[in-house]
Every structure is written in C-alpha cells, then in structure tokens.
C-alpha cells in the first residue's frame, strides 16, 4: 500500500528532509489515485506530494503505472477514485497556462517549421502566436538550434526534434513542467544537456516532475521520488530518506583469509572477491573494528558507503521490480 506522506495543500511531506514543514506550498498533491483499464488496476492508490520548485522523479519499470499517473495528474484522464490537485486546482485544464507537458510518445506535425511548432504548442497554452514565434527564435538560438528555426520538423534529426518539442513544452514559461520519460531516445550528450536544463528550470522556481526507469537520472536530479511498481507507490518522499531506509554498507579488505576474527563479522556478510560486504552493524563500526584488530585480520581497507537509490529501490520495491527496471534501462540504452 502506498505510503501516505502528504500534507494538506500548503504543507510539506513529513519526511521531506531538512525543510521546514510549511516553507513551500504543494505544486501537486494526489491522494488515493486509482485507475483501471479493462478490469486491471493500472494505478492502485497512488499518493504523491510535490512541493513547488522541486525536481521530482517518478521511478519505476515499464508498465508500473508512471504514465497513467502523470496523465491523471494532468487531467488527460480522470481517476476512477482519489483526488488530485495541481496548484490547488482539481481540474488541471483550468490552469493549463501554468503547465508544460512532454509526453513519452513524442509528437510533432512533420510539415511544420520548428518555429511554428514551438509557437503552436505555446498557443495551446494560451501564448499569442506572435509572442510564441519570438520566444521560439530565442529558445532555439539559446539551445544551438537557431539554424534550424525555419526547417520543417521532418528535416530534423530525432534528437533535434525532441529538443524542439521540449522547447515547445517550455515556451509559455510554465510553473510546472511534467516530462514523461524525457531521457529515453537521447544520446549521452543530449541527456547531459537535458539534466542541465532541468536544473536550470528548478533554479528559476519551476517545479519539474519526470518519470524514468533510469535510477541514475533520478538520483542525480531529484530531491524527491515516488517509487512505483505494479501500480502502487511503496515509497514517496525525499531521495535522502529513501537511501536512509537501508543501512550503510561496509566494504572490508583484509590480509588474512582465515582466522578467529571471521566470527566478528555479522551473519549478512558476503565475500565478494577479496572483499567482504555487509550492512553497518547497529552498534556502529568501532566494536567491530576493535575485534578485527584483536583477531589480527590485517585490515587493508575499510570503507562505509551510504546506500544508493538503487539499493533503496531494491529494498522498497523488491528484487523483481529492480530487475525489470534494470532490463528496461538496458533496453532503452540498446
């Protein structure tokens, strides 16, 4: 069942680490969202709270319910149960000018010129065409596509077309940007550029929500994540809090291969080549260190590593979901 970590509008999630409880109002608040298709629950009781100005990731394997959740948040489809509020509004279309959306299935009119395509997407959000064209030129130039302003979409490379669509998502200067799998289909350089762009948006106070099945993007960018698997959200909160859910990992290298000191290691310890790996004991590292020294283990190196988001994902969503996530990410790279 989903973790209820939301507050009422204007409050923050309780585990939003390091933030005062009422510092930022919520850009998005969803409670108990349920959506079924043909008798199958695609989304099953999702709770999400995203403060304004945050970069928030919805992390899960393909088919977990990410896109359906985003579509419900945006009002493209209505939930069967539950409520959603975007900037306090129940009907997201009522504040269409404040939102920018990049769907997973990229779509542009192939015969449109770049400048017109961007201006059209702005016009859909209420930006006058003339102003949209002016901003389109400015955006295209800023992102190194000034030379393509009057080219038709069909004449662009896939990466360029994706950038044009992203610029169309931003041309009306929204306060909330929702990106569905924005990194898929981009090469490493363009993924890096997109990360920079997302950070820049957040610095300007824009709330960014994106779905992804690549943990590293979420880990690098997000202050909050919702982990979604099988239509449920077993975790929603800060990335830090997710990582803190599992203990830090100890990595130990010794000169001695055998000895009495081995009994000092916790039962979860696993040998991995020359190393031992195990969770940091609750009693801390000092008692263990003492016994290893007394047992003449011959410590060559010892490090304590904080758990990554991947470890947190495995612990929260389970091995199966993690394996599928990994497979999806590999598939996307291929």
């Amino acid at each position: 069942m989903a973790v209820s970590n939301h507050g009422s509008a204007g409050n923050l999630p309780s585990d939003w680490s390091g933030q005062p409880a009422d510092a930022r109002p919520l850009a998005i608040e969803a409670r108990g969202l349920v959506k079924s298709f043909d008798g199958t629950r695609a989304v099953d009781g999702v709770d999400i709270s995203v403060p304004e100005g945050a970069i928030y990731g919805i992390l899960g394997p393909n088919g977990a319910g990410k896109t359906t959740t985003l579509r419900m948040l945006l009002g493209i489809i209505d939930p069967d149960e539950g409520v959603r509020r975007v900037f306090g509004h129940d009907r997201p279309h009522d504040i269409g000018r404040l939102i920018g959306y990049l769907p997973e299935e990229r779509g542009l009119y192939p015969s449109m010129k770049c400048i017109e395509a961007i201006a059209f997407m702005g016009a859909l959000r209420g930006l006058p065409l003339k102003e949209g064209r002016e901003r389109a030129v400015e955006l295209l130039e800023r992102h190194g596509l000034g030379h393509a302003a009057t080219r038709q979409i069909r004449q662009l490379s896939k990466g360029m077309a994706q950038t044009v669509q992203l610029l169309g998502t931003l041309v009306h200067r929204p306060r909330l940007v929702v990106l569905d799998e924005p990194f898929s289909g981009l090469d490493a350089i363009n993924q890096g550029k997109l990360e920079v762009m997302i950070r820049a948006l957040a610095e300007d106070g824009v709330t960014v929500i994106f779905s992804t099945h690549v943990i590293h993007h979420a880990e690098r960018l997000c202050e909050g994540v919702a982990i979604i698997a099988g239509g449920k959200v077993p975790y929603a909160g800060s990335v830090e809090a997710a990582r803190d859910r599992i203990p830090a990992q100890v990595r130990l290298e010794t000169r001695a291969r055998e000895g009495a000191w081995l009994s000092a290691l916790p039962p979860e310890a696993r040998r991995n080549g020359d190393f031992f790996q195990f969770p940091l004991p609750e009693s801390g590292i000092e008692p263990l260190l003492k016994r290893l020294i007394e047992g003449e283990a011959g410590i060559l190196s010892l490090s304590i590593e904080r758990a990554g988001l991947h470890d947190a994902f495995v612990a929260i969503a389970g091995e199966a979901a993690a394996r599928q996530l990994e497979a999806d990410a590999q598939g996307a790279r291929a």
Binding site: T40, A42, I76, I77, G96, L98, L124
Partner: protein, 418 residues
C-alpha cells in the same frame, strides 16, 4: 522564467480556434488538398465516359426498327402511313424498314430469319395489310402489335383519317406537375448533399489519421479539453470544405459559361429548367449550405469519435467502414421518403440526426413551411454537440490506456499488478 498569466486557461472557444487555425492552414496548403480538389474530376470523367459508351451500346443493342417483309407495295404503303402518323404519335411508332433479304423472296421465312439472329429488327411484319403478322419475341410483339395495327389500318383506309388541330392553352403549373417537378429538385439536392458530405467527411478521417501517425493527440489532450480539440478539427475541416466547394463551384460556373449549351445538348440536363423549390431558390440555397454544414459536422463528429478511439491508423480505417455504410443507408432512407411527405418514415428520417439534413433539404424543396427547419436545425446542432461531448468522454475513458509501448506495455502492467 515563469510568467504569471492574466488568465490561467484558454476558453473552450479560444482552444478550438487554436486547433482550427492550425488544421485549416495545414490542410489548405498541403498537396493532399490539391488532390482532393481534383478528386471530383475523376468520377465526372469516368461517369461521362461510361455514360457515353453505355449510350452507344444501348443504341446498338436496343433496336426499335420493325422490318417489313410484305409485298413491295404493302411495304411502301406501311412506310407512307407511318410517316403520316409520326407528327401525331412520334416516338410511339417504330422505325419501319423493308427487309432487303425478303425483297425478292416470296417464301421469305421471317421466323427462321429471326431465330437465326440475323438483322437487327425488333420484329418483322409479314403477310398483307389486311392480314399482317408480326414475328418477334413475346415482349417485342406485345410492344409493337398496337402501333403496327394502327399504321396498317391507316394504310388500308380508303381516306386518310383527318386529325383535328388541337389548340393549346398553357398554365404555369398544376398541383400534379409541381409536385412531380419538385421531387426532381429534391432528389438532385439530396444527391449533391450526399456526395459532398461523403467526399469531405473523408478528409476529417485523413486528418485524424495524420494526428494518430504524428502522435500529437496527447499533447493536445493535455493542453486543452478534448471537446475543444474535436470542435476545432470539425470547424477547420468545414471551413476547408467550403473552400473546396467554392473552388468547385467557380470551376463549374466557368465551365458552364464556356460551354453550357454543349453540356446541355450532351447530357440533356439544364439546371435552369429545374423546377423552383417550395421555399424559393435563395432560401433553398441558404438552407442547402446550412444542412450541408450540419450533415458534415454530424458525420465528422462520428468519424472523430471513432477515429480517436482507435489505437492505430489501420483501426481508424477499419472502423470508418461501418460509418460509411450507415451513411449510405440513411441517405437511401431519406431518398426513399421524398415521395412520402408526412409519413412516419419521413418523420423518422427527420428525427434521426444523420439522415435529418437530407430529409429536411428534400422538405425545403417540397414544402414551403419554414418553422420546421428551425426546429430541425436546433435538433441537429444538439446532436452535433452531444456527439462531440460523447466522443471526448469516450476518448478520456477509453483512450490513453498506456504509455509509449502501447498495449504491450498495458499487458505488462497487468502482469505486474497481479
């Protein structure tokens, strides 16, 4: 970076306008529109050729010539009598021509000649003027027995019959002729409306197919309400269709100005001779335009609803077939009820939204009342709105079930959920 807009969203009308403007410009300046404009040329050319060839074949195949195989004197008297009666009876008489094979053959076997499929006669007349025998198939004999008897009687009369001069007093119209004439106007108007609707509604479908192929529908659905998307698309296509009709109208007008007489002579059809509709020509044309718009919007809304629910271009095309068949059926229904004004069937055709514009246009040709049109138009407009609302509701309920991986992904989701 962020602007604080004066109004947080577009009104439904503004949203529809954004869609309509894009679609109108995109369609109008596309190559497809050029082909679309040329579209009616092909059926006209094919129809003209087929009609011309068919006419030739018919002329060759259907003979109204009756062969004469009597004595040369009787043959000559028959021909002369036929010529005398022609001004009175005209087309009711057959062409009479002596059979050359029978000229020097007293024992000419007309039956054998016909059965051997020689010559191109509807029947052959043998015997004498006092006792003529018509040899031919049952149908041809039944058809020509009377006229041949009349000619033979005239040929044997001691004195040719005197035909009194019938003087003429013309009236502009009569109830019977007016009704039958207006039926013709109603039929032509209905046919024109049907052809235009079918031709142009196909364009809505291609537009939606394009949208499906471009995968842009989700961007539209996220930005503005789906009924505004539908309305925008419908009115854009309607505007495009008016441009198309204007171009065709101008082309037809120009063609008529250049060679109207030749066309009339070739086709036997002169629009100037069409009987005036009951509501008068100006109002009839205005109603025709409005009913075209309604028929187009109704069919277009149906196509859009079906098209938006389909998950692939192929599905769009498959699903449109039943709608096309339905449209054919409602056209036949409306056409059938032209001659049954006030009947339950006509009322049903008026009440059913898809056939209503056709039935009402026929009514405009036949009946002078105008209030019925106001009621029908309000009803049709309500049906358009209901179809658009229903379509967008279905879209929101049934479409967008999964993300990029489509239905496959949906199944995966089901597995995960299980």
């Amino acid at each position: 970076m962020t602007d604080l807009p004066l109004r947080p969203r577009l009104s439904a009308l503004e949203a529809a306008w954004v869609i309509a403007r894009r679609d109108f410009v995109a369609v109008l300046f596309s190559r497809a529109f050029l082909f679309f404009l040329l579209g009616p040329l092909f059926p006209v050319i094919v129809g003209g050729l087929a009609g011309s060839i068919g006419g030739e074949v018919q002329r060759d195949a259907v003979s109204v010539e009756v062969g004469l195989a009597m004595s040369p004197a009787d043959n000559a008297k028959m021909v002369a009598a036929g010529e005398q009666l022609a001004p009175q009876l005209g087309g009711a008489l057959p062409l009479l021509r002596a059979v050359p094979e029978a000229a020097d053959e007293p024992a000419f076997d007309a039956r054998g000649f016909m059965e051997a499929r020689r010559g191109n006669y509807a029947a052959i007349l043998t015997g004498s003027l006092r006792s003529p025998t018509l040899v031919g198939t049952e149908g041809q004999v039944a058809r020509w027995q009377g006229p041949i008897g009349l000619i033979a009687g005239h040929a044997t009369a001691a004195e040719p019959a005197a035909f009194p001069q019938v003087s003429a007093e013309l009236v502009a119209t009569s109830a019977a002729s007016e009704k039958s004439s207006r039926v013709q106007t109603a039929q032509i108007a209905q046919m024109l409306l049907f052809l235009l609707t079918m031709l142009l509604a196909g364009m809505v479908l291609s537009n939606l197919v394009e949208e499906k192929a471009n995968k842009i529908i989700e961007i539209l659905a996220a930005a503005i309400p789906m009924d505004a998307v539908f309305m925008g698309k419908l009115f854009a296509m309607l505007a495009v269709s008016f441009v198309g009709i204007a171009v065709w109208g101008l082309a037809a007008g120009g063609l008529w100005a250049l060679g109207g007489d030749a066309i009339t002579q070739a086709t036997g059809f002169n629009p100037a001779n069409l009987p005036a509709p009951a509501v008068g020509w100006p109002l009839f044309i205005a109603l025709g335009v409005i009913y075209f718009a309604m028929a187009y919007l109704l069919l277009g809304a149906l196509f859009l609803t079906i098209g938006s629910m389909a998950s692939s271009v192929r599905e769009v095309q498959t699903l449109s077939m039943p709608v096309t068949m339905l449209q054919l059926m409602v056209f036949f229904l409306a056409a059938y009820t032209i001659k049954q004004p006030g009947s339950a069937l006509e009322l049903a055709a008026i009440a059913f939204p898809l056939s209503s514009p056709f039935a009402m246009l026929a009514r405009a040709a036949m009946e002078p009342e105008l209030w019925t049109h106001a009621v029908a138009l309000a009803w049709q407009a309500a049906a358009v709105v209901a179809l658009v609302k229903g379509g967008s509701l279905l879209f929101r309920k049934r479409v967008m079930k999964s993300g990029g991986a489509g239905r496959e992904k949906s199944k995966k989701g089901a597995r995960l959920s299980a």
